[in-house]
């Protein structure tokens, strides 16, 4: 049996699955239910400074986009940080940590961008026995308008400054949670590292308007006829998050900085992909909010079975394995040639591959052969783009097959076994300049 336990910044947890700072971690009741279900750790719902707590709207906070069968693909929210008094949260955090000493307890914090504010709250959090803190520089709505959350996360200098204050004030490991609402994620990550942060976690939610009500013409969720942008999360954001994680993992300045991966994690596979891109733990919010805490049992079992099958004893055995394979487009091998192949036994003849290729790509799939409905790839036209694979409703019915030898019937050129990329391609003006 694979060992799923993790040691992230010295914080131990029985598995890499943490609940992200959000409603599932807003109170003792939820968190203890989560631990009972098997979650390895939690990042407590973001705490604000002492005093009257923030207030939430009293109407709908969520909006969603759905796939077939109303499967929730993307969730949008306009919720703020915790709206419960600070001392209640602190008391419950201490209680939970005492009851569940083997689980990771991270506390998310967001206070105004003043040194005094951070210095005031950190000792209170430390006193709960929490294992670490996460600085919420990500919330894109409500808090950012008050100069917190993503308003800080969008200015690398602020990130660095606040991270430094925290490192100077507390013994606890400091994780900086990054906002994706920025052009280049490497800058805030570098700033966090410069400020002494022990790790980054990402992503927080993406600024979004989930839909517009076509009767009332209000954005949704609509509060009395008006809406505001919210934060987008769930399965739909995973690709964006994975790219950002990879960018940080392979950046010369931040390489090796521990990462807790967040964004759309719904199954063990999603989690394994984040780990393969270097994450030491993963955090989950929407999947738990969609299906309840029990989903972690599938995640644990699936990851464990995968690791057994691959012969990985611990998470570290495959963590970061995909990072060296992430490269820039210009280094991709232009001599690699693939052609689509249709498994005729699996094909159900829906014709979607044909019409996608015919209307929008390279006219490389038949619809009729000898008067019969038949879908087959025309190698002389196929550029190997993978569109047909993407639209085929039957898994593995169309696959991409590498041409290892012979002549590409499309270009009439022989298949070369050598690696050659754009940097040296004759059509590249830069390469021409270099050669001259």
């Amino acid at each position: 049996m694979a060992d799923l336990s993790t040691n992230f910044l010295g914080i131990r947890s029985p598995n890499p699955f943490w609940l992200a700072s959000a409603p599932p971690t807003d109170k003792q009741y939820n968190v203890e239910r989560a631990f009972r279900a098997g979650w390895g750790g939690v990042v407590w719902k973001t705490l604000g400074e002492d005093g009257p707590p923030v207030v939430n709207v009293n109407g709908p906070r969520y909006g969603a986009i759905h796939g077939a069968d109303r499967r929730l693909l993307g969730l949008n929210n306009i919720e703020l940080i915790t709206d419960r008094p600070l001392e209640v949260n602190l008391r419950e955090i201490a209680e939970v940590k005492k009851n569940w000493p083997d689980r990771a307890m991270i506390v998310s914090i967001m206070v105004p961008c003043e040194e005094q504010a951070w210095k005031a709250i950190l000792p209170l959090v430390e006193a709960t026995g929490a294992d670490g803190i996460e600085l919420n520089f990500g919330c894109p709505h409500g808090m950012s308008e008050r100069g917190m959350g993503s308003a800080v996360g969008q200015v690398p200098e602020y990130i660095e400054m606040v991270a430094r204050w925290c490192k100077q004030t507390t013994r606890m490991p400091v994780i900086v949670k990054l906002t994706p609402n920025i052009t280049d994620i490497r800058y805030p990550a570098r700033a966090a590292k410069k400020g002494g942060a022990d790790a980054v976690s990402l992503i927080n939610t993406i600024s979004s308007i989930i839909s517009v009500d076509l009767d009332s013409f209000s954005p949704t969720p609509s509060i009395d006829g008006r809406g505001s942008h919210g934060g987008y999360c769930g399965p739909a954001v995973k690709p964006i998050a994975l790219n950002m994680v990879a960018e940080i993992a392979r950046d010369a300045e931040t390489r090796g900085l521990p990462i807790s991966g967040i964004g759309g994690i719904t199954t063990w596979r999603d989690a394994a992909e984040y780990i393969a891109l270097g994450c030491g733990t993963v955090q989950v919010c929407t999947a738990a909010m969609t299906y309840g805490f029990k989903i972690v049992q599938e995640m644990i079992d699936g990851l464990s079975a995968y690791m057994d099958e691959k012969g990985f004893r611990t998470i570290e055995d495959f963590r970061g394995r995909a990072v060296p394979n992430v490269t820039d487009w210009q280094y991709l091998n232009l001599n690699y040639i693939a052609k689509a192949r249709i498994d005729q036994d699996a094909c159900i003849k829906c014709g979607r591959c044909h019409i996608a290729c015919e209307d929008t790509s390279h006219q490389a799939i038949t619809s009729m052969v000898d008067g019969k409905r038949h879908f087959e790839v025309i190698d002389a036209e196929c550029v190997g783009c993978n569109l047909c694979v993407s639209v085929c409703p039957v898994e593995n019915c169309i696959t991409m097959e590498e041409m290892v030898a012979g002549t590409d019937p499309r270009t009439g050129r022989p298949v070369s076994p050598d690696y050659a990329n754009w940097t040296t391609h004759p059509n590249n003006p830069m390469a021409r300049v270099a050669a001259e």
């Binding site: 077939a68 159900i348 829906c350 979607r352």
Partner: protein, 460 residues
């Protein structure tokens, strides 16, 4: 089989203790009738329709559409349901098939669109196209009294003979082109077999008449009931008075068993029996035998057998001369029959009717076999079924009497690819022509195609 041999020796003419055949109504409690004649496939609710519409792959050159005799753009209408444009979905259906509502109820989808659905290939569970079609058309018909608009009047007049699916479809298409249409029907009530033939549990309530009203709602169509071609009307006068004529008269004759005793009480023609039953205000008043034998293997035989059971017949046996695979009734329909408690017997043909005091008491069959060429021969072995009622469902035939000089082919009205007869002013379609299967949806397509040709001829 010993059981059958024994039956042969029983003097069934006068079963001990019975006084004549037992044919009567009120075999069941009122609630049983209501339950038995409720919708065979209850309509989909909104949630079910959305879930089902999600299953459609929006196929290219969709096989389901190819399989639909009226060529409804199925992927498009299903997609419109999925996006909440339900009336738009219905419009897509009605544009191809103005009787889309009835077809959604009566089409043997298991041999048409749903058989061709790629999800049937993939997982033996096709998209439920028929039920989605019903969802869309019901929705539209609840909110609208008609479909389509008429083009500017052309001043041309077309006579349509027969207010069945073929005639109605033709009339609607012609009216929308701006022509004025008069429909004549021998019966007082329009709808053809939709009103008089289709099983009651397929089109519950008064759907056939609601649909006729919906179709006529476009305007420009006058209905004249009780006017029969050959009795009140003649081809020559119609072609003289109108610019074009469409014949959609269906099949009026029924095939006979050719046995002595066919005129005995209790031997009925299944189509006529169904017609009487369909028109009965109270199903409880429809007389049905205690033991019923239905002869035939098509849709009519199944409908007669199933409805006999639903009316309370204790034993219903359907007997067909060939194997099940040769039956016109689909596997699904055979299952419907079996679920209703009908016993299906195959490879037996009627040999002798047993009659006592002018009423049928039983019927003997001869067992059959087919040879390599599919030819049927009797084996000489017999068995006998006691029966209070024998229903004949061995096919309908066309009665060419009132046609005048119009040419025939295979005993029905000969037509070209555009459904024009040998008389240049007369078109024909539906069951009365030899093209395609005898199905509602096929009749609708014929009417539609004939209307196209008529319109082209009138505008030429």
């Amino acid at each position: 089989m010993t059981e059958l041999a024994a039956a042969d020796t029983v003097p069934f003419e006068t079963a001990p203790g019975t006084a004549g055949p037992d044919i009567r109504g009120q075999r069941l409690a009122a609630a049983d009738y209501a339950r038995n004649f409720s919708d065979m496939h209850p309509p989909l609710g909104r949630h079910e329709a959305l879930v089902e519409s999600d299953r459609c792959y929006f196929c290219y050159d969709a096989p389901c559409q190819t399989a639909c005799p009226t060529g409804i753009d199925i992927p498009l209408f299903i997609r419109k349901i999925g996006t909440g444009n339900v009336d738009g979905a219905a419009s897509t259906i009605f544009e191809a098939n103005i009787l889309g509502g009835m077809c959604a109820r009566v089409c043997p989808t298991e041999t048409l669109c749903e058989d061709a659905c790629v999800r049937h290939t993939a997982e033996d569970r096709p998209v439920r196209i028929g039920l989605l079609q019903r969802y869309a058309t019901d929705h539209f018909m609840q909110g609208h009294t008609s479909f389509g608009t008429r083009k500017a009047p052309t001043g041309k007049r077309v006579a349509v003979v027969g207010a069945g699916p073929a005639g109605l479809s033709c009339a609607h298409a012609l009216a929308s082109e701006g022509h004025d249409v008069t429909i004549f029907d021998a019966r007082g009530k329009p709808g053809g077999l939709n009103e008089h033939g289709i099983a009651a549990y397929k089109a519950v309530g008064d759907f056939a008449q609601e649909e006729v009203d919906f179709i006529l709602g476009i305007g420009g169509i006058t209905l004249e009931g009780g006017k029969a071609l050959g009795r009140d009307l003649a081809i020559e006068t119609l072609t003289a008075e109108f610019d074009a004529v469409f014949l959609g008269v269906g099949l009026q004759g029924v095939n006979a068993l050719g046995l002595s005793g066919e005129a005995a009480a209790g031997v009925v023609d299944a189509v006529a029996w169904i017609e009487a039953m369909r028109q009965a205000e109270d199903k409880g008043n429809v007389p049905v035998g205690r033991r019923v034998v239905v002869i035939g293997g098509g849709m009519t035989a199944v409908d007669a057998a199933v409805q006999a059971r639903k009316l309370g017949a204790e034993e219903v046996t359907m007997v067909y001369r060939r194997g099940e695979a040769a039956m016109n009734a689909s596997a699904f329909e055979r299952e419907v029959a079996r679920n209703a408690g009908v016993v299906i017997r195959t490879f037996a043909r009627p040999a002798e009717l047993h009659v006592a005091a002018g009423a049928v008491t039983g019927i003997s069959f001869e067992k059959t076999v087919t040879d390599a060429e599919g030819r049927l021969t009797g084996t000489g072995e017999r068995f006998t079924l006691a029966a209070d009622q024998v229903m004949k469902a061995i096919g309908q035939s066309f009665e060419p009497g009132p046609l005048g000089t119009i040419g025939l082919e295979d005993g029905r009205i000969a037509v070209d690819a555009a459904f024009r007869t040998t008389n240049a002013k007369v078109w024909a379609g539906g069951d009365c022509v030899p093209a395609g299967e005898d199905l509602t949806v096929v009749a609708v397509e014929h009417g539609k195609r004939a209307a196209r040709s008529i319109n082209a001829a009138l505008k030429a």
